[in-house]
Symmetry: D2
Subunit: 256 residues, 4 copies
């Protein structure tokens, strides 16, 4: 049987600023990556997000980012190994408090933005993140870019890992994502995107931007809930997957 998780970045509002259609998207995904106040989110938003996720029985995870609210964690910062490790620990703990208060468990950790992208390639940064997760709670699943250094390092440290794939992004022949600055990096045709996702999940294959078929493990698919159109696409992907006999479940139910 085929199984896959649908994850989305949630809880990215801050103070008076509202971002994302969280309540809606939480109904359609199986795992929520919750911002922890460094690149987005705050204590009020975290509490509210955990409350809604619990009610909907959506699994929650930590979404740690760089300490850069102004840049939404999307700007690379050259921070040390220890800084990376401690920033991740801090953010895990912060979200843990809200999960603990509500009697729910943290399922996973998925780095955000520039931290995610850097850790996909930089072994030291990946190691710092993986160690932070392991030290705080070795049962947490580490989510990273499929086939990346982050996944490799998570395994080495002894964590359960989940390979993440993107429905709407083009891949290089080496399995990395085509940079957003390059034309063709984003797949706008929804039918093409859905076909690719189904192939990744069922055949573990995707066609790279240069035409080769590459191997890819698809444990979890990243989806977005920024606007009504994105939200609709989440529902379409889910329906298409289920129509193909793929069971859409949280990663904790099949990543061991």
């Amino acid at each position: 049987m085929f199984r896959v998780d649908l994850n989305s970045d949630i809880g990215e509002s801050f103070g008076n600023y509202v971002l994302g259609m969280d309540e809606e998207v939480l109904k359609h995904i199986t795992s929520a990556n919750i911002a922890c106040g460094f690149h987005a989110g705050d204590a009020m938003v975290m509490d509210k997000t955990v409350t809604i996720a619990k009610k909907l029985n959506t699994k929650i995870g930590v979404h740690p980012g760089f300490p850069d609210l102004m840049g939404f964690g999307r700007r690379e910062m050259i921070i040390s190994y220890d800084e990376t490790k401690n920033y991740v620990k801090y953010q895990i703990g912060a979200l843990w408090a809200f999960a603990k208060s509500q009697g729910v468990e943290l399922q996973h950790v998925k780095p955000h933005g520039a931290l995610y992208n850097m850790a996909a390639k930089d072994a030291q940064m990946a190691k710092a993140i993986a160690e932070a997760v392991y030290d705080v709670d070795k049962e947490l699943i580490l989510v990273g870019l499929a086939n990346s250094v982050m996944i490799k390092m998570g395994k080495e440290i002894g964590l359960k890992v989940a390979n993440e794939v993107f429905a709407d992004r083009a891949y290089n022949a080496d399995g990395s994502l085509v940079s957003r600055n390059i034309k063709g990096s984003v797949i706008h045709d929804r039918d093409v995107a859905i076909s690719r996702v189904i192939r990744m999940v069922k055949d573990n294959k995707v066609t790279s931007v240069t035409g080769e078929d590459i191997n890819i493990q698809a444990d979890t698919i990243c989806v977005h809930g920024d606007n009504p159109s994105a939200l609709l696409f989440v529902q379409e992907i889910r329906k298409a997957l289920e129509g193909e006999g793929v069971k859409v479940e949280p990663i904790c139910s099949f990543i061991k």
Copy 2:
């Protein structure tokens, strides 16, 4: 047998900024209140502080404050009940991650600065803090100003509480601290301060600024490690207490 705890605010450095003689004062106290990044402290400082406290076997607790680094958490902020509750939860969680990583337990929560002072009088704020602590971990001891609304509310919510007294501060007849703006609020004579502390611990009495003896419960004494002189005073208080047969121990060993 008489028992008392010595507590101090620790881990108040931030980034490049160093504050306090933490490594020294941690040797002489029994409980450390560790800043959590809102009014002071950061993830690097928290990690280092927990590491040192563990090595010295000093108990650690959470020292949550207002989100006001620029004002060091000493400025009153009119925040809502839910904001208070969630800010405290967030900070408990953040420190928990470092404690968990090191295999040590959090012993207590003591609000910082303006949050401490407001919660000593404001029942709603005190309730929000007590509920936050209870919801995250009901075994945590809540430290508040002796006889204050914070202590009363902690008990009502079902928490273990520790009454805090100050060696160097004058008390009003109602048990509240004389405001720092008023002359005579700080006791500069060390011998007088020490005598008062011993009387508070052994007889549960202190003479108020207006001359009356008032009842006061002294579970923990607040001391400072800002400079060599303050550090020396900590050692003097401890020695004097022990000379009087008072056992200086962390609150967890006698607050049940």
Copy 3:
């Protein structure tokens, strides 16, 4: 001839967070209060806002707030006289740099949120703000709640002042705003709101919540551009005023 200014809070976006229909509302108002990075806004947003305002020939002013992005500057903070003064100076300077770069002049300063409300009643806070403005540039017009301590203090310090009125808010008999917590504080009937505004501008009168007519000077009317409905209301107010023969102009054209 009757003249009045229409002002609105603009440039309240931050980083990735978008707030307000700035480009639209800037077309219909005569004075924009631009956030300066303390309670909202950032350097990118400030640059963009000044650029658009310049193109539309809308006058710009400084909108200083408390250093509380998480609370959007709406939470009271008990800060010192010097802190107030220096925080206001800092924010004036920050916006000045963008105005200077574009070759436009700052017209006014209007405190934001809790700073505005506190300064309407607290003479010390009002004085600190007025002195900050005067020290940096004594030609800047200080905008405050009509009849408030802020206006009085601005005059005393030697500044030009503009009395601000609200179309959609009820007034107490003493000229202060009815607190938002009280029922009836906000006037939802647009026709009533517009009639009140016209009366305030032409007759300098408004009926208080308790039924008395009170004197009120209306130099500038606060309007909002948060959503399409609010934006439409701005256009309706402007049209109604112009229909009554009131000239809608920036305060600098009639406040001397």
Copy 4:
């Protein structure tokens, strides 16, 4: 006649955190680079620093940094051209307000930490900084690493520039600083450091770490006031320069 400026980073305290012996070092230098609240400093510190500098007749300049208080502006951040430009403008304006209030003029702009180092090599970042300065006030002198891209770009944009040299740092053969990670990057022998400084000022030469003599323009020498020993060294350098007939003056008196 030989002339040189002595500059130091000043006003790096923040809130309750005190850094540097500002009042002392301001007596011995001719130009102060004042932090503006991004990587260090706050409105209170800026006001105090400008006040002291004015009293001592020490020239003041803007010391803009990355928005990274936690990293003290020493961590590289990959920010855009527009972000760089607007962050620099914002910080110039913020300091301008305090200078304007005190009736003193801003003399120069010197980027801080990682921004300084990146701009020494990255032409786009250098250009963004130079344009920001030019747009706000084209009379401001831009201070950058001697012979660097920052200096070149400042000239191209049309600014007056000042070449900065370091007494205690080793130089590569291409005129760049030897990285702090490399052994021998810092010159600890004070006599050697002083001799090098005098040679740079009088002969425009310095011996690189690989033994070659390189050409270097020394308009201003960077000194530190972090501790009593550093402070003493400032006095020694100044005395040695004056003993060699070098006039120690602010850059505005000889950079045209």
